[in-house]
Symmetry: C2
Subunit: 526 residues, 2 copies
């Protein structure tokens, strides 16, 4: 600790030290509960007697800023707001207050930097997006009385936390020293080998060296964007789609050209017209377990998309979510499985099937592009934690992931079925929705004239939350849609949540127009 | 698993399945040791009888491609190179070989994508850098007979692996479910609070909300570069410096303008002239524990650098390494500690003092820029593993880090002293070197006319390795320098390593010119 002491001032050194520490505690720079430096240490580093520091500490204790624990040292008092702690008295002892002299925070000099003016184009784009996002009502609510269909994450109540703790223990014991050292950027070799075999289940053949380990699929988007996108490039992208994918490509200065989904996948003829006119650098899509709709493209659509991409020499970035979470007879076949030409870059993740917080995913690509993605990864953060990779590998190798995946897939299938049943039963006639074949959510379309963002406050008031659909679309489309995630809503609360949502929708349209015919559950495209 | 079966072919289905699996094993798409799918599962997914799959598996076992373990299933044979495994026989049983028909890998269609032509400017820059790096002899050698001063990493023999395992266990037990879920981008709040207090030791005052958790300092560089640098911007940068920092700024299209170090820090008058002429977007430096020299700038130099930066409205990016690793009377005071104007962005890391493999670091900055860095972090990979953050926090809070840091600082100080003693004793007269005040390494300057990259093969032949200095410099400077890291060389091998290096240098100059005067240990600037 570096305290500027003024030995020419008439104020005793102990008082100067005390006042400085008091300011640090008040401004929470010294956090509640923190141990103060040992008196001997601090005295040494300030070049004063140990008694001087001890005196300062005693004053801090007397004033309630700190507590002394015999044999342990002196600790900053717990937050005044915390239970059992009292607001420190501001002055104490017989010494005059020097608060005004010394303990007041130094006035911050006027900032000579105009940070917003210094931002890169990329940072300016992100700042503008953030600004836009702020105008959206946040669907996240911490009120437990609200049934929230807003969170698109796995249910942490289903996490195999303890089993994971055990494998983590084992791998640290077995190979801790090498896992905690710097590690090659490509990833933990046994995990790459495991994934090579794992992906065969979905018909996807990739050698270990064609697989790059990344920090979740988000880093996959980022590395692909920085490796392929320059300012002003066009990116073709499915609509609706995952908002953070939109954001990443935008932040690299891409112009986005939407390819709308219908019930069988992104519309191939729109895709082809787009390739003819705009020569995009890549096409991004989620062919299976699509977020937000939960739809899966038909194999025939996949074949046609691939064929068009090959003919126009355009890479496809396939966001694979997780193939194990499907609700039909068998998992969807990834585009990458039919990619004999190597035009598909496939992104996979452990975030949905295991733990989002691990930040662990992978990218599969042809060697010439995978090598470049790996170089970008190395510059971005050297490598992904080898410890986490090894633990997940051990977890998979012991077939714990398979067991876990089967268990959660059953549970999510149950919740999905409950949600669909409740919607059929409780939604007004003009409401339509997609039937998810994978993933965690579906997209619901409100009756004409209703706006999901405007509806949300009323919904929360009735005790239900959702994600407005607009951010999943470009150019202001999707205002009449909303996403319902069923993955983290307890089965017993789903019907009640849908009931509340139905009432919210009905109340928003007190005089419904004549019932229209129910359209097939396709995604509206504006 | 997705096997295309042809029911019209005269080849039995079992044989088709076997041939397909055989190919996958041969191409290592099914990795050695992997369990094959249960016969029931595979039969179901292929729509064949279970007996058909069982027959295929038996053939694989008979041919040596797989092994059956009673009650456990069928596993791919361990690698033919592995001990105890024999080369699988290529044909078996009474069945005709269909290798040519079915099991040969499908010929890869010609790639319709010209990946190099699709690369972004950034990726092209990285590719060119990689190409340049390949022309350097790699100093890494796995031969244990070679004493390697090349690795700039902490000694994994000193890792507190077991203590870390225990805290990791505790935090998963205590709060596993929330730590393994998605987490806010800023970081684990208790860790940010701890760092706020920890940094006070070095005189650096930062509120928790002015601290962003990142994946090691490398991600800090990356986020700062993408937030401040556009193609064509100038970046002022100390010379010599950490090569990966150079690379990151280059990859964002920056022009680099070097500010040479002398014995007291980057030369302020060069810095000021540069600011006047080029208006760089930022200045990058490592004021303490400088890599490669180990030097620390004088406080007076720091004050002058800051003053110039403020006057010219240029942010300073301070790479803080770790303040606990110092070899003088007290730690260096970071530039950030005197930064009343908020122009310094400080980067810290746990990689040097704890474990590099955790990928855990932090960035301190004024709120307007920290907010933008956090937004960039969120797009880059959402957040850093909260589990790792919580474990490190627990480790610090229990004062295990302090204890560990004291222990390793002593050991590194010992190795540094041994290295300096050995150099004094064993180096030819024209060799000079820096005296590290922090960090893991020093920079040595060879006698005139010697090139470190050219010297390396001869050094390795004599059983010693180092890192040539050129990559730490821009524009081809530094060829006559090399970096010696003492952090991961066992104390008992240092003198012998230096002896071998001395002999290598002497042998490279069989007829030394007249001894020049020993210059003070400053860094040569070309």
């Amino acid at each position: 600790m570096n305290i500027a002491l003024d030995r020419d001032k008439p104020i005793p050194l102990a008082r100067q030290i005390q006042a400085h520490l008091e300011r640090l505690i008040r401004e929470r720079l010294l956090a509640p509960g923190m141990k103060l430096p040992a008196t001997r240490e601090l005295a040494h580093s300030l070049g004063v007697n140990r008694g001087t520091v001890a005196e300062a500490y005693e004053e801090l204790v007397a004033a309630g800023w700190a507590r002394a624990h015999v044999g342990q040292g002196t600790f900053v008092t717990e937050s005044p707001g915390a239970p059992g702690a009292s607001e420190p008295r501001r002055t104490s002892g017989g010494l005059p207050s020097v608060d005004g002299d010394l303990a007041a925070p130094a006035p911050l000099a006027p900032a000579p930097l105009d940070w917003p003016a210094l931002l890169s184009r990329s940072a300016q784009i992100i700042a503008a997006e953030d600004e836009r996002a702020r105008t959206l009502v946040s669907a996240a609510t911490s009120n437990p009385a609200v049934i929230s269909f807003a969170g698109g994450m796995p249910d942490s109540g289903l996490f195999p936390t303890d089993a994971f703790r055990r494998v983590l223990n084992q791998v640290i014991r077995d190979e801790g020293a090498s896992l905690l050292q710097y590690y090659p950027a490509g990833g933990y070799p046994p995990l790459r080998r495991y994934l090579s075999t794992y992906l065969l289940r979905f018909g996807l053949e990739a050698r270990p060296e064609e697989i790059l380990i990344v920090n979740g699929s988000q880093q996959g988007f980022d590395l692909i964007a920085r490796t392929l996108i320059d300012q002003g490039d066009t990116v073709a992208i499915e609509q609706p789609t995952y908002p953070r994918a939109l954001q990443v490509f935008r932040s690299f200065g891409a112009q986005l050209a939407p390819v709308p989904w219908d019930a069988v996948g992104p519309r191939v003829e729109v895709f082809e017209r787009l390739l003819e006119r705009h020569a995009p650098k890549l096409f991004y899509c989620q062919p299976s377990a699509h977020n937000p709709t939960g739809l899966t493209l038909l194999p025939e659509t996949g074949r046609r998309l691939l064929e068009v991409a090959v003919r126009h020499h355009v890479p496809i970035v396939e966001d694979g979510f997780d193939g194990s979470l499907y609700y039909g007879a068998r998992p969807a076949v990834p585009l990458k499985a039919a990619d004999v030409h190597g035009v598909v870059i496939y992104i996979g993740t452990f975030s949905k099937i295991l733990f989002p917080g691990l930040r662990l995913g992978w990218v599969v690509g042809a060697p010439p592009i995978l090598e470049r993605l790996q170089a970008a990864k190395q510059l971005a953060d050297l490598h992904t934690s080898a410890l986490i990779q090894a633990a997940v590998h051990r977890f998979c190798e012991r077939r714990l992931l398979d067991r876990h995946a089967a268990r959660v897939a059953r549970e999510y299938a149950r919740r999905r079925a409950l949600l669909l049943t409740a919607l059929k039963r409780r939604m007004p006639a003009e409401v339509t929705w997609t039937e998810p074949q994978g993933g965690f959510s579906l997209l619901l379309t409100l009756p004409p004239g209703l706006d999901a963002t405007e509806l949300l406050p009323a919904a929360i008031e009735r005790g239900v939350a959702f994600t407005p659909g607009a951010p999943f679309f470009m150019d202001g489309a999707g205002a009449g849609t909303l996403r319902l995630s069923f993955s983290s809503v307890a089965a017993g609360r789903i019907d009640e949540g849908v009931r509340r949502l139905g009432e919210t929708i009905k109340a928003a349209r007190p005089r419904p127009r004549g019932r229209g015919r129910l359209e097939p559950a396709t995604v509206p495209v504006v």
